[in-house]
């Protein structure tokens, strides 16, 4: 866990890398320096189009490009891609199931100092309710790179969620394979399953160590695909460990935790506690300060795990 790289950085580099292998265009809405599509712009200036500060137009333009058979990426902050442009994503891209790959960066409260208006804790919810939309949330730079290639090869719209902050690298670039719809067991365990997505996966692994010291054996599942969700793996671990904790940098309403509960309520109802932003808006502050304020910490995951184990036993 020595290296720390932001998933947006990995996204930008992946566009350049795969730009040599695949024919796609990239759109941005005046945030290329921040979303890191600037790398692609520099390498392939004739394949990059700035749409200006007009995200709704950008999404519908992307749909038009895709309707001609040309794959295209559209990038902005999560707030504007999945928030402001929700209706364009739904109607222009989702309804006709077009090959638009949305690269949304600066998701969650790790936007930090910019504060609530730019901290999107709702995008997993708004994107996963669109029929046919694939929703990806990579845990580290290696998974982010692989997610980009998986999205290119996937037939249909994909929403990719990337973060601003540098986060630990968990996977090995040479061996990692991204399979859309598949969760990854990071560590096995018997007493509780910690299901995490995005930057929370690294924290779930830390929480596991805390719990181990107390004699609680926690499994950790990384869920890089929020939709279609890996119901099989979740059900298997619900049966095996009897209780779950979910962890995401997103509102606890409507996001990955909700998606896990939806699955387990139907297949194997077990106590499931959710770590996430507790239905609040964000605020300005340094990234780690904000994670503390909103309870997105290994300590809070471990605490919820203790509660979940207690609930299972009662």
């Amino acid at each position: 866990m020595a290296d720390k790289i932001a998933t947006r950085e990995a996204y930008g580099k992946a566009l350049v890398e795969f730009g040599a292998k695949y024919d796609f265009l990239v759109l941005d809405a005046d945030l290329a320096e921040a979303t890191k599509t600037c790398f692609f712009k520099k390498e392939y200036p004739d394949r990059f189009f700035d749409c200006g500060i007009a995200e709704g137009n950008m999404m519908s333009v992307a749909a038009g490009i895709a309707a001609t058979g040309q794959t295209v990426f559209a990038s902005s902050f999560a707030m504007f891609a999945a928030g402001r442009a929700f209706e364009q994503v739904r109607n222009s891209i989702g309804y006709p199931h077009l090959n638009v790959k949305i690269g949304a960066t600066h998701a969650g409260i790790t936007v930090g100092e910019d504060g609530a208006t730019h901290q999107c804790n709702e995008d997993l919810a708004t994107m996963r309710v669109i029929p046919g939309m694939t929703v990806l949330c990579p845990a580290d730079a290696v998974e982010a790179r692989a997610a980009v290639e998986a999205a290119i090869n996937h037939d249909g719209p994909v929403y990719m969620r990337f973060g601003r902050a540098a986060t630990p690298v968990l996977f090995d670039k040479d061996t990692y394979v991204f399979k859309i719809g598949k969760g990854i067991v990071m560590a096995d365990g018997e007493d509780v399953t910690l299901v995490a997505t995005g930057m929370m996966t690294a924290m779930a692994l830390e929480a596991r160590e805390m719990l181990k010291a107390e004699g609680i054996d926690a499994a950790v599942i990384n869920l890089p695909t929020i939709k279609p969700i890996d119901a099989e793996l979740l059900t298997e671990y619900a049966r095996k460990t009897g209780c779950m904790v979910t962890a995401e940098e997103h509102n606890v309403i409507g996001g990955m935790g909700s998606a896990v509960c939806e699955v387990l309520a139907e297949t194997c109802p077990v106590p499931t506690l959710r770590v996430g932003v507790e239905d609040k808006f964000g605020a300005s502050g340094k990234v780690m300060e904000m994670m503390e304020v909103y309870g997105l910490t290994p300590a809070n995951i471990a605490e919820k795990a203790r509660q979940a184990v207690k609930l299972k036993r009662s």
Binding site: L25, D46, R47, F49, C51, G52, A54, G56, N57, M59, S60, V61, A62, A63, G64, I65, A66, A67, T68, Q70, V72, E87, Q88, N91, S92, Y95, P96, H97
Partner: protein, 278 residues
């Protein structure tokens, strides 16, 4: 334009108007007013201008058409049926359960529909995307879109207008159906989106004003649009909402209402009389 050709186009346009009335009557819903206003322009596009093949709707380098004001799907469907993309008998299934003729255009289910549309302001942006893709891929097909005057109250129309001019999309031609009426009343009373000519010129577009029901002017406008290089063209088409059905003309009550049986019979009789008189 030769008189014989003009008469043939008039016959087609009137047949399309009959199709529009059949659709909305049998659906007991839909939008006849803004469909009837565009029947002549749609006739010209599909029977004179567009490089499309009803037997190969997905033909690679075909011209593209996006009905940005997607609620006027009846005119698009009646035109596509007349052109042979699907059976004319299917028009009466418009808006019915199980029919592919959805209330608003659906590119996945309807032969000849290049873009799903209906949420206002989105279609012109998608048309921009198609035109940009044509430029990038060095294809010479053209992209056409039809906008509503009320639709241009959507901010996205102007985002798209800025985009099209910036990227010099001279392979894009937008027609603005300037009939002056929207659901809540005259556009001037609702929010006043005009003047369109000055606005689009200020956004960097080539603007051509025409009478939307005069085939000579329609032809001249589309020819001029094709010849204009370096900027997109807006054809500001002054039209009559409800054109061809006396009681629907210039009456915003017919924006989104279907005729009752007696009204339907009057409309069909009027249109058939027009057809016979050409």
């Amino acid at each position: 334009m030769e008189q014989s050709r003009k008469n043939e186009l008039r016959r087609i346009a009137t047949t399309i108007r009959i199709g529009i009335i059949e659709e909305v009557y049998h659906a007991a819903s839909g939008h006849p007013g803004g469909s009837l206003s565009m029947a002549d322009i749609m006739t010209y596009l599909y029977f004179e201008k567009l490089n499309v093949d009803p037997h190969d709707p997905a033909m690679a380098d075909r011209d593209r058409f996006v009905l940005s004001k997607g609620h006027t799907s009846p005119v698009l469907y009646a035109t596509l049926a007349e052109k042979g993309f699907f059976p004319k008998e299917d028009l009466v299934t418009f808006r019915h359960k199980g029919s592919y003729l959805q209330g608003h255009p659906d590119m996945k289910g309807i032969p000849g529909v290049d873009m799903s549309s209906g949420s206002l302001g989105l279609g012109i942006s998608s048309a921009c995307g198609m035109a940009l893709s044509a430029k990038y891929n060095k294809k010479d097909y053209r992209v056409y879109t039809v906008l509503g005057d009320g639709e241009s109250e959507e901010g996205q129309v102007w985002e798209a207008a800025m985009f099209a001019a910036h990227y010099k999309l001279d392979n894009l031609c937008a027609v603005l159906d300037f009939n002056g009426l929207q659901i809540d009343g005259p556009i001037a009373d609702v929010i006043g989106p005009a003047p369109f000519d000055e606005k689009f010129r200020a956004f960097g577009w080539n603007v051509i004003e025409i009478d939307a029901h005069d085939f000579d002017q329609i032809e001249a406008a589309f020819t001029a649009a094709e010849q204009c290089k370096g900027k997109p063209t807006l054809i500001l088409a002054h039209s009559t909402k409800g054109k061809g059905v006396s009681y629907m003309e210039n009456n915003c009550a017919w924006h989104g209402a279907a005729p009752k049986t007696e009204q339907y019979e009057i409309a069909i009789a009027e249109l058939k009389a027009q057809l016979a008189s050409i």
